[in-house]
């Protein structure tokens, strides 16, 4: 990948082929339009293994045939792929592979899209000489609840095993026994558990690994493949929907190495049955559940909103760029309000957003591959953007990148990290500031061990989570400058936002202080949490909710309930009938990403197109259409009459999208930073401003606009307040303080600082997709062994966790790597939602062991 690799010229079957030095012969041949059949070779899996022997070719000067998958090209190489010797070997390998293959193609799901079939037809001898009995295995059996394995069909190509060992690094799949008795399995026949396991069904070149969700559902001639983008998380992986009778039957990968490296997670793969769940909102409704026509619903919504001109807010979550653009048009032009936000907990001011958006500071996904060091800050990619977890593992394994992790809660990547820092919940801002100072060579502090790795590295990619909060995001600029990311090619920041299309919505103007194109506004509106407060206080009277579920997903459930009850008029757009949707006076259905037509913007700035693959169930109309009609009903004509006009309206309004066309987006997407219009970003021509990481306070940052950020002085929260010289994040300090203050009243339950996280499997994904139901998480209280000991808790104990008037029940789970003084609960768990314990400040919780209920 490095630019200094030189080009070489070789001859393959008489054609002159140009290739990059070090490239494998098989790949060079393909680029020269010469096909060499393979089974085991898959560059995505790392180094070739040369096991199947299908790709043998003749190379002049070498007496034996060579495997083209593992032979690097050399200048002047002369290669033959069609000689008698090669043909004989290809026939032989196909014949060998079929010795034990059951040839049950007529009843095999792979039949019709099977590389073994294709290679047999293309390169095999055409007749069988085998009359002996084949080996037998029990079949099919559960490799996991999602994947069936048929060991008789397996040709032992090693692909699934290599995926497990070298891509997802769970090492659960192994080859057991040997010779022709070899089979793929797990230790002790335990189920294969991995959030990426479905990928093995994509790479299996035969019908040995099949999805239970697709077995016997369709044949290749019944189906159509529809390429789109998965918007279940910010990874925005490129997928292809297998559609039969207008319904999605399967989701498979659609390789895009700039986005997903050819893998998808099981959430995106198996989360499609919810598209037709009974809980889908399939037509407009009014309060009480009555179905109404679109025309009536729009009229009702328009009159309700018009009556509250200037007192309406909007919160947007799951929406395309076009939908985001239209909703901010409705708010700003139709309803004369700027109280609109797309961030669950507000966020930094537009100045910071613009600084972070500066292309010089931006890392793209592929930069992770070549980074010298990677800092994972304030997020666990396994939960927030799973495909980046694989990407970071790959960078470490194949290119020796050095990883450092700085988070509140232990992450799945900790095992590969060179240095790990744990800061206390709510202390991200202090930590990032300390890290910037430490990288800059300041006095030794809590972040010094992490800083040492980063300081020595050249190219640093910072993968950071939006959850670090507004104040920490402001501090990021200082860190970025201390790491010289804007002057280092291939270095930069990459955000993992809270919602899938967060970047696109912000750039489309779904922000309280900026319009489309991140243009600063004179009239600044309210952010998410201010909207909530204004609804409670009566300063706002109506709210439009698009693809958000505050009662499940946002912190402080009680306040959101109060706010939604206080609002006299609620218009909601929702995919499913959620509790939030139940509060709506007018409820519109939303399309899923299998039905929607529109663009989204990846966190690295790549515009991608979500294309309609499946039919919309019930009476669902496109989001752009509903919004354009609503705008029209409010007296503002957006001129949008179709998806292309919606896209045109967006690109007209966002200057740095101006030169992007549908053709340019194509199947792979295009980063706006790579287009001519990138210079239209406000402040683009400015050199990134250097921020002094040691300065404690900087002008121009709107801390006051951000209730969640800034210094934390919650009552009773002194234990975790910033103390730059004492290392507030150090477990020792926390323990001392926690124990020091835990006895205001004799016998009072102990308190721990609470951190929350979003589990990959929480929410509708496991509740509305029957195949994934077995993964539905229950609430666990994660705590350190020392705290558990002090509280007399063992893993598995039932506990009540209380904060103020709110409490929930959970199961204690002792985790070795949890810092002392802190405990963690998952958000969005039905029946025990940690969001209910939050109040916008750093909270401490009381923990009480519940008596065993004897049966």
């Amino acid at each position: 990948m490095s630019p200094e690799k030189r080009e070489v010229t070789l001859t393959i079957d008489g054609r002159e082929v140009t290739a990059t030095e070090g490239e494998m012969l098989h790949d060079a041949a393909r680029e020269g339009d010469v096909e060499i059949p393979v089974f085991c070779y898959e560059p995505k899996l790392g180094a070739p293994v040369g096991a199947c022997r299908m790709c043998l070719v003749e190379i002049e000067g070498i007496p034996k045939l060579q495997t083209s998958c593992s032979t690097p090209v050399r200048d002047g190489m002369v290669v033959h792929t069609r000689t008698e010797q090669v043909k004989t070997a290809q026939n032989a390998v196909i014949e060998f592979l079929l010795v034990n293959h059951p040839l049950d193609c007529p009843v095999c799901d792979k039949g019709g899209e099977c590389p073994l079939q294709d290679n047999t037809m293309g390169w095999g001898p055409g007749k069988s000489r085998v009359i002996d009995e084949k080996r037998h295995f029990e079949k099919p059996i559960e490799l996991s609840p999602l994947v069936a394995i048929d060991r008789e069909r397996c040709i032992l190509c090693y692909r699934c095993v290599r995926f497990s060992q070298e891509v997802s690094e769970d090492s659960q799949l192994q080859l057991l026994d040997r010779g022709d008795r070899t089979y793929v399995g797990t230790f002790d026949d335990r189920p294969y558990v991995s959030p990426f396991q479905g990928n093995i069904t994509d790479i299996c070149p035969v019908g040995a690994l099949t999805n239970y969700t697709y077995r016997f559902r369709a044949r290749p001639w019944d189906i159509e493949q529809a390429g789109s983008v998965c918007t279940l998380c910010p990874s925005q992986c490129n997928v292809s929907f297998t559609v039969r009778d207008e319904k999605v039957k399967r989701v498979i990968t659609r390789d895009n190495e700039d986005v997903d490296d050819g893998w998808i997670c099981d959430k995106g793969r198996y989360g499609f049955e919810m598209f037709n769940a009974a809980e889908r909102v399939t037509e407009p409704r009014t309060k009480g559940g009555g179905k109404v026509s679109y025309e009536d619903a729009i009229a009702k919504a328009a009159s309700g909103l018009k009556a509250r001109l200037g007192k309406v807010a909007a919160i947007v979550g799951d929406a395309s760029n076009e939908e985001g653009f239209l909703i901010q048009e409705i708010l700003r032009q139709g309803l004369h309000s700027s109280s609109i936000d797309s961030r669950p907990a507000g966020g930094p001011g537009i100045d910071t957003i613009l600084e972070l958006a500066n292309p010089a500071r931006q890392a793209k996904v592929a930069d992770i591959d070549d980074a010298d060091a990677i800092l994972v800050l304030g997020t666990d990619p396994m939960g927030s953007s799973p495909i980046l977890d694989l990407r970071i593992r790959k960078a470490i394994r194949r290119n020796g990148a050095r990883l450092v992790v700085a988070t509140e809660r232990p992450t799945a990547l900790d095992g590969g990290a060179e240095a790990i820092a744990r800061y206390a919940p709510g202390q991200a801002s202090y930590f990032v500031g300390a890290l910037a100072a430490a990288v800059g060579g300041g006095v030794e502090n809590i972040a010094t061990p992490v800083a040492e790795t980063l300081r020595e590295a050249g190219k640093v990619v910072v993968v950071w989570g939006e959850r670090i909060g507004a104040s920490a995001t402001n501090e990021l600029l200082g860190l970025a400058d201390a790491l010289n990311v804007s002057t280092t090619e291939g270095a930069g920041l990459l955000e993992i936002p809270e919602t899938a299309n967060a970047r696109g919505l912000r750039e489309a103007g779904v922000l309280p202080d900026a319009g489309p194109g991140l243009g600063a506004l004179a009239l600044q509106g309210r952010g998410t949490e201010e909207i909530r407060q204004a609804l409670i206080d009566g300063d706002l009277d109506g709210v439009i909710l698009v693809g958000v579920d505050p009662l499940r997903d946002f912190g402080d459930t009680a306040a959101w309930t109060k706010a939604l009850d206080a609002a006299s008029f609620v218009v909601a757009f929702s995919t499913f009938a959620t509790a939030t949707a139940g509060k709506a006076d007018v409820l519109f259905p939303l399309e899923t990403h299998a039905e929607k037509d529109g663009t989204v913007t990846h966190p690295d700035g790549r515009l991608q197109r979500v294309r309609p693959a499946a039919g919309r169930p019930g009476d669902i109309r496109p989001g752009w259409q509903t919004l354009a009609n609503l705008s029209l009903a409010l007296g503002h004509d957006t001129g949008v009459t179709s998806q292309p006009t919606a896209f045109a309206a967006l690109t007209n309004a966002v200057p740095f999208y101006a030169s992007i066309t549908d053709e340019a987006i194509g199947g792979r997407g295009i980063r706006w930073q790579d287009t001519a219009s990138a210079s239209s970003l406000p402040g683009f021509e400015r050199q990134p401003e250097q921020h002094d990481p040691t300065a404690s306070d900087r002008p121009g940052l709107k801390d006051e606009a951000d209730p969640s950020g800034g210094e934390i002085h919650a009552p009773g929260a002194d234990a975790t307040a910033s103390a730059p010289d004492a290392g507030a994040g150090s477990p020792d300090t926390q323990r001392e303080r926690a124990s020091g203050e835990s006895v205001p009243v004799a016998g009072a339950p102990a308190t721990l600082a609470l951190g929350t996280y979003r589990d990959i499997w929480s929410g509708p994904i496991t509740e509305l997709n029957p195949p994934l139901k077995f993964l539905k998480p229950t609430q666990h209280l994660e705590l350190s062994p020392a705290d558990a000991h002090r509280l007399g808790l063992a893993s598995g104990d039932k506990v009540r966790v209380t904060q103020g008037d709110h409490s929930l029940e959970a199961t204690a789970l002792i985790k070795e790597r949890t810092p002392e003084g802190v405990c963690f609960l998952a958000e969005a768990i039905t029946g025990a939602n940690a969001n209910g314990l939050l109040n916008g400040h750093q909270v401490r919780v009381q923990i009480e062991k519940l008596a065993e209920v004897t049966a």
Binding site: A51, A92, E133, R178, G179
Partner: protein
């Protein structure tokens, strides 16, 4: 007393059990003097040159020049390794067993000197798991050598270091393949690796690694002590030195005999091993272990026993293990037993070996059951052709070469066995014996 046709160099003094101790090794053959001189006085290149000039060829099977192999290791400051391949598992081979049991210090000294030549700082002896008592002998010898300062840090005060570990394998023939040996040593499933990169460049734990057979390394002390000229007085131009030959099968005195290479095969079998049992005659031999193409008695007897003569006859000297089949042996059954061994030991990584060994066994079983036709013999031959040269390592070829030679040279017998079995003439044919009882001839 050794037979007059033997040339005992490696087995010098082997009849004295004291040789296995450090003191005995010193007293009887003047052991460790060479190590001392090499470590104290010689540079890497000097040792390397002595080995290269000697023309010593690897005794494990491939017969590659040992000195040349050692010279392939890159120079420079990096962790380098030496692995002694003591995973002697080839049916018919049992010479390393005797060398390790009778004279373990000769091997330890050879490893230490070879480490000097290759720049290795860590050495391993990978010994097959079934060689339990031999591994105990090696463990004791290595402990003695550490105690005497011949191994470890700052050997004999020279500032040179070498750690030596005896590692017992878990009992898989494939781990005698050098790259599978490395994987097994690293704690992985013992499967061969793709080559290139060759172990000399990227071997154990990714470092340059020299891998040699027990007998090869046992030759090292004397070559360095006495020089290439001395070594070349034995053997032939292309096969210098002596060789411990394991003879088994239908002979009166099976066992290990150390000969000067180039000795007529007839002398080896008739004089040293005593020839066939009374009333029998030699029908065929495997000249170099069960993986070498069989030679008929007529082909073999007048050949000198050397690398080049065996290669010239379309076979190979291999590890120097002669298996003699007399006229009571059914060649088709011998072919089946050979194929079963390799089928049982195939690791399963590459398709031609995995499926080819399995298919060949099934076809040969049909042959001896009388359920085959002459066309199946053609298919068997063609399958062997399809295996040869197409595999990841040489295990597949190791079955294909002897089986294909047997079908070619004894086709009439195959057809006769097939026909007789079909008519029920030989009801005692046992083909369903459990796999465990088949295989290793040792």
């Amino acid at each position: 007393m050794p037979h007059q046709l033997e040339t005992r160099v490696l087995l010098e003094g082997a009849e004295d059990p004291r040789l296995a101790t450090l003191q005995g090794y010193k007293d009887i053959v003047g052991g460790y003097a060479t190590l001392e001189r090499a470590y104290k006085e010689m540079e890497q290149d000097e040792v390397l040159k002595a080995l290269e000039d000697s023309g010593l060829r690897g005794r494990g099977g491939a017969g590659f020049s040992m000195g040349k192999k050692a010279s392939f290791l890159p120079r420079g400051d990096m962790p380098k390794y030496l692995c002694c391949n003591a995973d002697e598992s080839e049916p018919g081979a049992f010479k390393d067993r005797e060398l390790m049991q009778r004279n373990p210090h000769q091997l330890v000294e050879g490893i230490a000197i070879a480490a000097l030549a290759s720049g290795a700082g860590h050495a391993f002896i990978f010994i097959r798991g079934e060689y339990d008592s031999q591994a105990d002998v090696l463990d004791a010898a290595v402990a003695e050598a550490y105690g005497a300062g011949y191994l470890g840090k700052d050997i004999l005060g020279t500032g040179r270091d070498l750690e030596l570990v005896v590692h017992r394998g878990a009992g898989a023939y494939i781990c005698g393949e050098e790259t599978a040996l490395l994987d097994a040593l690293e704690g992985k499933r013992g499967n061969p690796r793709l080559k290139p990169p060759f172990p000399a460049v990227q071997g154990l734990y990714g470092g340059p690694t020299l891998i040699n057979n027990v007998e090869t390394l046992s030759n090292v002390p004397r070559i360095v002590a006495k020089g290439a000229e001395w070594f070349r007085q034995y053997g032939t131009e292309q096969s210098p030195g002596t060789k411990v030959v394991s003879i088994s099968g239908g002979v009166r005195r099976p066992g290990n005999y150390e000969i000067s290479l180039g000795l007529p095969t007839r002398d080896l079998i008739y004089d040293l091993a005593g020839g066939p049992l009374p009333g029998r005659r030699v029908k065929a031999i495997y000249p170099g272990g069960s993986s070498s193409p069989v030679l008929t008695a007529a082909e073999a007897m007048d050949l000198p026993y050397s690398f080049e003569a065996m290669a010239g006859a379309g076979s190979m000297l291999g590890s120097g293990s002669v298996i003699v089949a007399d006229d009571t042996v059914s060649i088709p059954h011998m072919a089946l037993r050979t194929a079963r061994f390799y089928h049982h030991e195939s690791c399963g990584k590459c398709a031609p070996c995995r499926e080819g060994t399995n298919w060949t066994v099934k076809m040969l079983e049909r042959v001896v059951r009388g359920e085959a036709t002459p066309m199946d013999l053609d298919i068997i031959s063609s399958v062997q052709e399809n295996i040869m040269g197409n595999c990841l390592c040489v295990l597949g070829d190791s079955m294909a070469m002897p089986v294909s030679a047997m079908v070619r040279k004894f086709r009439g017998e195959f057809e006769q066995v097939m026909a007789e079995a079909a008519e029920g003439i030989d009801p005692h044919v046992v083909v369903d014996a459990p796999a465990e009882t088949l295989g290793a001839a040792t």
